[in-house]
Amino acid sequence: MPDSVVTRKGQRLRILLTPRYCKGCGICVELCPAKVFGSEPATGKAYLAAVERCVDCGLCELWCPDYAISLEREANL
């Protein structure tokens, strides 16, 4: 999924979504400071709307109560 990878702070970062875990609570969609996430109209589940806007603040994966977002850093890519 090359479209989910960005380079930030000198390293590559992949935003990994697990839709099976997502309950569509909207926390990432509404609180991401860079508006990276969108909400699927049918299910309410999060999707990557604009990964290029990611500023690597790291908050989405810490806030997500359902472990549906993982930020995979360079060493693990």
Binding site: L31, G58, Y67
Partner: protein, 277 residues
Amino acid sequence: MLSTAQMLEKYYLVDKLPNIWCAGCGDGAIAAALVRAVDELGIDKNSLTQVNGIGCSGRVGAYQDFDVIKGTHGRALAFATGIKLFKPELTVVAIMGDGDCGAIGGNHFIHAARRNIDLTALVINNRIYGMTGGQSSPTTPFGDRASTALTGSVERPFDLCQLAIGAGATYVARGTVYHIKQLQRLLKNAIAHKGFSFVEVVSQCPIYYGRYNDEASPAAMLRWQKESAVSVTAAQGLSPEELQGKIVIGEFVAKDEPEFVSEYQALIDRYGQEAAE
């Protein structure tokens, strides 16, 4: 810091996911903050023991790969006391809700604090009984609504951190789900502290507390946490009126006092020496 994928692989029973909690509940994020704190402290997962109570917070351990005893309502700290006293080498964390700890388990809470037993008590405060459908709890703010206080609570709430301080806890801190990175630090400090550590996390229950109090969106509730938060240091300069409705976050107390299990071990050692002589 562990990515979520790494965390799940190392510490979670992934086949049990997705978790049971309602969409937007804070429990999952708090559970992850705890696991990340444990990982950063380098604690072996065989020596971390978790005790859960009853309620939504009582499901934290069910998904995690530690020794976890999910006890009876309010008694998590009593179970934890037995484990720690018998096997002091274990790191013991008790996770409770605000009703669990502040109402039905109140006596165990103040006495664990008084004894200064080396446990960490993590209280997830969503200001309501969530599992049973939204009844008022000891931390429901005066005037806030719940299924048993439809026109607003006419009871004064507990400030659980002040209660912990009054009872003698030697580490006391409060965080929120919004301030998740700070929460991880507070949990690390609490677990590393030798003595009774108390961490209250102001969390969100969008389904019950939110609906009853017109704050239905989880994100809106997190924004409220952000906007209401005042640091311990900043709070010192504010009057009680100015602090009304604020969430004071950070470390209130971190001090060394005689710790119960060590003192008891010293007693055993003393008897052992006497017998040898």
